[in-house]
């Protein structure tokens, strides 16, 4: 549903990149958090010592997941809005509120990427390392985190711009797909509740 034919190559590209980053982000949770932590718990139980520094690694994996996955929340319209009132407005007025909402998210996303850049720069200037056996230079995990947040800001800024272009091209449905309220069918398809999800064997 989200991959509808697009005259805007940029729009499709943005979605594609966000989705691939979401796969990486999900992989970070499974292979960067769950697997190392499990190895450590099991080895602590049987060998009385941990093999990996999973406590630290998993924190970086979560940060990577949050950074890299954030753009996907924009391209799938996951960011929760109280649209109970605006949904009752006529479409012509509603689209104004949708644009304002998308712009507000863009401002916040840009601010987060900006302040995250500050964190990264400071770690670099101070040559900060984690206070642990690993002594990881914090620049490494923070760079991954920041790259994701930078992409988040790009998608969040691009989305209302693309929506305005759609509106100028008199394509309200296209604009709605970018910034409108999540329609229920889309939402449920994404959480896998469309009744087709469960296919045992």
């Amino acid at each position: 549903m989200l991959q509808g034919e697009s005259r805007f190559g940029l729009e499709a590209l943005t979605r594609r990149v966000s989705k691939v980053l979401a796969w990486v982000a999900g992989g970070a949770i499974l292979f960067g958090c769950a697997v190392p932590i499990t190895i450590d718990v099991v080895s602590r139980f049987f060998l009385n010592r941990t093999l990996l520094e999973s406590f630290e690694i998993s924190g970086y994996a979560l940060a990577a997941c949050i950074g890299l996955g954030m753009g996907y929340t924009v391209s799938t319209k996951a960011n929760v809005r109280v649209d109970f009132l605006t949904m009752r407005l006529p479409p012509g007025i509603r689209v104004v509120f949708d644009l304002v909402a998308a712009a507000a998210l863009a401002v916040v996303a840009a601010a987060i990427a900006y302040f995250a850049w500050g964190v990264l720069q400071q770690s670099e200037a101070m040559n900060a390392r984690s206070m642990s056996i690993l002594q990881v230079p914090l620049v490494i995990p923070q760079s991954v985190w920041w790259v994701g947040l930078f992409w988040f800001a790009c998608v969040a800024v691009l989305t209302p711009v693309l929506a305005v272009l759609r509106l100028l091209g008199r394509d309200r449905a296209g604009a709605d797909r970018l910034i409108g309220s999540t329609d229920l069918a889309e939402e449920l398809e994404l959480i896998g509740a469309d009744g087709r999800a469960e296919k045992p064997r």
Binding site: K19, A22, W23, A25, G26, G27, I29, L30, C33, A34, I37, T38, V41, F45, F55, S58, G59, Y60, A61, L62, A63, C65, I66, G69, M70, Y72, T73, N79, V80, R81, V82, L85, T86, F97, A101, A104, L105, V107, V108, A111, I112, F115, A116, W117, G118, V119, P141, W145, S181, L184, L188, I191, G192, A193, G195, A197, E198, K199, P200, R201
Partner: protein
């Protein structure tokens, strides 16, 4: 200051700005107008420190567990295993819905995943068996909400981080109220069916059900093993809640693999679902931490607590007012954002009133469950409706109302007997002292 904040929050929410943006922008405006030094400079560090919070790691792992369980085929067997146990109870399969939800909830931290999973399996039996549609569907929507009360629970992890309580205490505290609520749901069904026998088919089955009951038990083994792995490892002292979540996720991947359902496509779509939910939640969490940081620095949290306490209401009246406030707010606001946005403000008030924050966490989760099945924005109602794909959503509005009564009753019982929630944590985690 309180009025300005409240006005700004409510207006920007009502015009449909994203909740995360509302919180972040309110924090910015407050910091610009009331703080001595600009607070925004600290926001980068705040974002980083919460991005790698070890307790929060449990949330995406439990979300992924639910995503995979939903696709694993476990629930069909669970449903058929539980069915013979309720064949002679008035309401029959409606009780199976509730029991299957409760068992599934013990392996899943999400109400939506629970309702979607049980709904997919249960709904085909509704018309075939001649059940009252509203009651049958309502039991799935309401039963699904048990996902966040019976541990593990994603909501409790986030509540724990925001309120600085222990996840282990919250899980222990949620267990008995979870069972109690499931039993009350069933009681509601029995009363309704005895009142009006047309709501469910007659229970005139002859013969022995025991062979089917015994044969089905093996299908209960995988979910119960997962539950004991995830919850047992915490209370045996083998793992912290985050570590338990990791064990649970790895075991779930194994279980899905054993069911031959583990494909690259399944894994990737579970990743997508997990990342979407996790990042949506984390953006709000980061924004809420920033807003809370500003509000504490400028003395706003203290001012709100003071203003509420200066009303001089007795604690019970204040508590009742807070409960009503959440019941109303829950009709209109998505639940997880409601929880994240209000926890930092309401928990200090609750503690000042002399209540335990762990106990309130359980009452709060039940209020959130109520919000999930109250129209117009009760998400569980729409999940079940979407699985059903036909008929009117009004069936769900009508059918979930009796279960709302059971939730309110549980809250009243918890207020009257706080030990319902607080007894297990003191037994299981004696080290953490009184909660």
């Amino acid at each position: 200051m309180i009025q300005v904040t409240l006005l700004m929050l409510l207006t920007s929410l009502a015009i449909g700005l994203p909740v995360a943006a509302v919180l972040a922008l309110t924090g910015y405006v407050l910091s610009e107008n009331y703080a001595f030094i600009p607070m925004t400079a600290a926001s980068g560090e705040l974002a980083w420190s919460h991005s790698n919070d070890f307790v929060l790691i449990a949330a995406p792992m439990f979300i992924m567990m639910g995503e995979l369980m939903h696709r694993s085929g476990v629930s069909e067997r669970l449903f058929s295993a539980l069915t013979p146990w309720f064949t002679r109870v008035p309401g029959q399969l409606i009780h199976t819905n509730i029991a299957a939800s409760a068992v599934f909830a013990a392996t899943s931290g999400s109400s939506l995943a629970t309702a979607a999973t049980i709904g997919t399996v249960a709904i085909p039996n509704m018309d075939r068996g001649g059940y009252s549609r509203p009651l049958f569907l309502g039991s799935i929507a309401a039963g699904g909400t048990l996902g966040i009360l019976i541990p593990p629970s994603v909501n409790m992890i986030i509540y724990a981080v925001l309120s600085e309580t222990s996840v282990a205490d919250l899980y222990a505290a949620g267990f008995l109220p979870g069972i109690l609520l499931a039993v009350l749901f069933s009681a509601v069904v029995v009363v309704a069916v005895l009142w009006n026998p047309k709501l469910a088919p007659a229970t005139d089955f002859q013969g022995s059900l025991w062979p089917a009951r015994i044969a089905g038990l093996k299908h209960l083994v995988p979910p119960l093993c997962l539950f004991f792995l995830v919850v047992g490892s915490i209370y045996l002292g083998i793992a912290t809640p985050t570590e338990a979540a990791a064990l649970g996720l790895v075991a779930t991947v194994g279980l899905v693999g054993l069911n031959r359902a583990l494909t690259v496509a399944v894994l990737l779509s579970a990743f997508e679902g997990t990342v979407r939910t996790t990042c949506m939640i984390m953006l709000i969490v980061i924004a809420a931490f920033f807003l809370n940081f500003v509000m504490v620095s400028i003395g706003l949290v203290e001012a709100i607590t003071g203003a509420l306490l200066s009303l001089g209401w007795p604690p019970l009246a204040m508590l009742a007012a807070i409960v009503v406030f959440y019941l109303v707010l829950g009709c209109f606001m998505e639940t997880i954002s409601m929880m994240i946005a209000t926890t930092p403000i309401i928990v200090p008030v609750i503690v000042e009133l002399g209540y335990s924050p762990v106990w309130w966490g359980i009452v709060f989760v039940i209020l959130i469950e109520a919000a999930l099945i109250t129209p117009p924005v009760g998400l569980n109602l729409y999940v079940v409706q979407a699985v059903r794909k036909a008929g009117s959503i009004a069936d769900l509005f009508k059918g979930s109302a009796p279960f709302l009564v059971a939730m309110l009753l549980t809250i009243i019982l918890l207020i009257s007997f706080p030990q319902l929630a607080l007894w297990l944590p003191t037994i299981l985690n004696p080290k953490s002292g009184p909660v």
